[in-house]
Amino acid sequence: MKRVHKREKEQFKKLFKQENIDHFEDRFNILEVFLQTEHHVSVAELVRLLKEDGHQFTPDFVRDTLKLMCRFGFAQKRRFNNGQVCYEHRHLCQHHDHMICTKCKNIFEFENEELENLQVQIAGAYNFHMLRHKMEIYGICSKCLKDHVQLMSLVNAKQGERFEIKDFIGGATAHMRLLSMGLRIGDKIDVVTNLDSGQLVIAIDYNRYALGRGLAKKILVEPVVR
């Protein structure tokens, strides 16, 4: 483990110097303390650990540094069920590989002996001396696939269909507007009319709304089986 951290520190120096990032020494101290931990830490915890180590930093500075570290791939932000944001190491050279869900941003680790061997073989075949490798598979995880495969934009709805609102995409203003008028995620809506390239009329309980096409595009829905 020590060796790995050494490499990371070197990379850190190189990258941060390259990018001309300020307070290099302070940030390097934060990195050292961060790498000593072996579990998920929140900003507050890290500030405390740093203090124990004799460094006094503001939470904002620590958060800023952690953000930079996330950007350069040394740390990774995690959000657990209690909603608290924690950071953990991202080791670039470990024996396991990753599958990354582009939808929920979750990372799944996997190990495969055959794959590792195959990579060595391939490199060997090309007479290539492999130092390290990174394997990331991007895609959609099984949970998201199950949840979101049927999501469609309201704009493609047909007259008489029934949907549940699942998500809003687009800006906060439009979202707020819909919320204040009583259109929320989880609401069941009926499509009363959908004019081709015109507006839509939808109904929720005893309320009816006319929606512009632009806005309807931003409402993601799932069909409700009656």
Binding site: D60, V85, G170, G182, L183, V192, T193, G198
Partner: protein, 726 residues
């Protein structure tokens, strides 16, 4: 007697029955004006009740107090700045959850709030039972059930409002929305920051200000920046730090998280106060919408309604118009005999009565048109019309809502331009105001009838229809042109509630109709009066014209010679001779009138302008007629009547004959009609444009643009036609 005065503001969602309650409270004692600086209607009413003077203010209908639209900004500013003694939040009892969203926001501002659970009967019929005592207890405010359209509970409501106004008020600490821990932390830290750093220079409740800063409320931010002095930047920075933190924490904009939490709070209340019995009935409005907004039959039905409205306006309106015409004629005829012949009489008859009479005659049309529009609005059909027209209005770059002002433009541009105030975006409003004058108003129709009737005979109907179409097409072209140049606007997210269909109440229909007609009569009557006087002065002066012929002596000469002949003639010949005498005399009077018109100030102006109008085939008489049309388009015909020396009555056969013999060609007539269609709107409309756009710049622009467009199009028609004919 020195009575106590209280101001009571009515707030609530659109379609919550707010206006009905307001009408019931104030009756006809209403004052309609504008909110300062904007063109949203402000309604006030002063009443005396239970020994108090009450000032009732009808706030615009809003869904929230987050400032997205002008209405929301007005409602919020009024409560914050004017500090009414009591705010009555009118809640649609059948739609409790959404209504409470606005209600919780009122609870967050420090003001005395009272709930009116309106449409209690509708809620009951839907099987909803609301525990008003519990609701009152949970939110710590009085709750009253009302049925607005049956005038139930209104007195109790006012009684409670007065009670609340009289009571000493304490801020209920525990009855507010409580947000989740992190947000509450941010709120309280920002709040103490505000309290320590601003030294009370922010006039609002610090907690509320903190919440709004977290929500990134642009208006509150601006006010903090202005009021908090040197520390304001720091406060905003602090707020931004908290926002960033919450953004990071919840992975969503804080305003959305807080809105969700408010709904969570509401859901808790709903759970305790609302019981729903199982009967889930069908929504009648939805079923009507299945037909009226249907993609196939919706549009034809809509066209039928519009056709019916115009049919009613013009056919039913024709009768009272006739009565008014007779009345005006009677008044002027009796004045002819009563008053001595002098300048004042001429002024009164030809200036004041003729001018004002020409406007008053359109009152029945306007009343019926507004009555129909009130029916559309009160039944809820208007928003469906906007929905159906949206696709077509997008051709111009406008929303369906702009269709309503444009439609009204066919009746009269003045109320049409006033109707544009319902549009939210200022750019949409300006654009609509600029293109509405191309909708050929009813006052222009007599001009078309005379000209087309004289020169196109049997094809007159098609020609007039064509003129209307030219107006519509040019409004589309203009709309597109301005949309892509002067008034480029982002397409705002469009969502509009379609209110439930309701049977309209005759009382509110009449109030709506009268409110609008009153504005038409009052303001426009004044302008037209002044305009008519100006036209009269220009045509009546200079007084001492040196005529080419001594008409007066010639007339008496002719009379004397005929009279002598009659004396000696046989009984049978007397009648014939008398007629010949009268004809000759009126012929002379006409000739005198023509010469007088030619030599008046008006005539001189017309002669000066003639070179401008010559390329479009209009002679000096036509130019004067067009010029007087600036006062009111209907004057064009009567001016033509005077100048072409025909009998003054409109669209008479005599004027047609006179026009035919005046040397005007069909092409010239066509050019003139197009010019009348497009050129600068009448004085009253110009005044309305000035008021509704709030700027002289747009007013001048509208006048210059429409007049130059009119000239260019008329030029193309006249010159193009001449070349083709050769």
């Amino acid at each position: 007697m020195n009575q106590k005065r209280f101001s009571i503001a009515l707030a609530g969602n659109p379609n919550s029955g707010k206006t009905t309650i307001f009408n019931n409270m104030t009756g006809t004692r209403q004052k309609v004006g504008n909110w300062p600086g904007v063109t949203v209607e402000k309604k006030e009413g002063n009443i005396k009740k239970f020994g108090y003077d009450l000032k009732i203010i009808d706030l615009p209908g809003t869904y929230s107090l987050t400032p997205f639209t002008i209405e929301e900004i007005i409602a919020r500013d009024f409560v914050l700045e004017e500090r009414p003694d009591v705010v009555i939040d009118i809640i649609d009892a059948s739609n409790l959850e959404r209504s409470l969203y606005l209600a919780t926001q009122f609870r967050e501002i420090d003001c005395k709030v009272l709930f009116a659970l309106n449409m209690a009967d509708v809620a009951r019929s839907r099987g909803l039972k609301i525990d008003d005592k519990k609701l009152s207890e949970l939110l710590d405010l009085p709750v009253v059930f009302t049925v607005g359209n049956k005038n139930q509970g209104i007195d109790t409501l006012l009684e409670k409002a007065i009670e609340l106004a009289e009571s000493s008020y304490e801020i209920p600490k525990k009855r507010r929305v409580k947000y989740s821990k992190d947000i509450e932390n941010s709120i309280s830290s920002l709040k103490s920051f505000l309290e320590n750093w601003t030294e009370g220079s922010i006039p609002y409740n610090p907690r509320w200000t903190a919440i709004k800063l977290l929500e990134d409320d642009k208006i509150v931010k601006k006010r903090v920046l202005n009021e908090a002095g040197k520390n304001s930047r720091e406060i905003l920075q602090q707020a931004q730090i908290h926002r960033d933190f919450l953004m990071d924490r919840f992975d969503d904009d804080p305003e959305i998280v807080m809105t969700d939490e408010r709904y969570g709070f509401i859901a808790g209340i709903i759970k305790e106060v609302l019981t729903t019995s199982a009967k889930q009935r069908i929504d009648i409005s939805r079923n009507i919408d299945l037909v009226l907004t249907n993609r196939f039959v919706g549009f034809p039905i809509f066209l039928f309604f519009i056709w019916a409205m115009f049919q009613l306006t013009f056919s039913l309106g024709a009768y009272p118009m006739e009565w008014i015409d007779i009345g005006v004629n009677f008044v002027s005829k009796s004045l002819v005999h009563v008053l001595p012949n002098n300048l004042f009489k001429d002024f009164l008859l030809n200036g004041v009565i003729a001018g004002v009479g020409s406007v008053v005659i359109f009152l029945p049309n306007i009343l019926i048109l507004f009555f129909c529009i009130s029916i559309f609005e009160d039944t809820g059909y208007m928003s469906r019309a906007a929905f159906l027209m949206d696709k077509i209005m997008h051709l111009i770059g406008l929303h369906g809502k702009s269709f309503i002002p444009m439609l009204m433009g066919f009746g009269c541009n003045v109320p049409a331009i006033m109707a544009s105030r319902t549009l939210e975006s200022e750019k949409d409003r300006t654009l609509t105001i600029l293109i509405t004058p191309f909708m050929s108003c009813s006052a222009k129709l007599p001009v078309y009838i005379v000209l087309a009737g004289a020169f196109f005979g049997a094809r007159a109907g098609s020609v007039i229809f064509g003129i209307y179409m030219v107006g519509i097409i040019l409004s589309i072209v203009t709309g597109r042109l301005f949309r892509s140049t002067l008034l480029r606007g982002a397409d705002a997210p469009f969502v509009m509630e379609l209110p439930p269909y309701r049977a309209p109440m005759i009382k509110s229909l009449l109030i709506h109709m009268w409110d609008r007609s009153k504005i038409f009569l009052k303001k426009m009557g004044g302008i037209i009066l002044i305009g008519s006087v100006v036209v009269w002065i220009l045509s009546a002066f200079p007084q001492n014209i040196s005529y080419s012929l001594d008409y007066n002596s010639k007339i008496s000469e002719t009379k004397a010679s005929y009279n002598a002949e009659i004396e000696t003639a046989h009984e049978s010949g007397k009648k014939l001779l008398a007629k010949q005498r009268d004809d000759a005399v009126s012929e002379l009077i006409k000739a005198k009138k023509t010469e007088k018109a030619e030599k008046s100030f008006m005539g001189s102006i017309g002669k000066v302008l003639a070179p401008v109008f010559a390329p479009i085939g209009i002679d000096w008489r036509g130019s004067i007629a067009l010029l007087t049309g600036f006062v009111a388009k209907e004057i064009v015909v009567s001016t033509m009547g005077v100048l072409y020396a025909a009998d003054g009555t409109e669209d008479s056969a005599a004027l047609k004959n006179a026009l035919l013999s005046s040397g005007m060609t069909p092409l010239g007539a066509l050019a003139m009609m197009v010019f009348v269609l497009l050129y600068m709107p009448c004085l009253a409309t110009v005044a309305a444009i000035r008021r509704e756009t709030g700027s002289f710049k747009w007013m001048i622009f509208s006048v210059v643009y429409s007049t130059s467009l009119a000239w260019i199009v008329a030029f193309c028609i006249y010159q193009g036609g001449t070349i083709l004919a050769v």
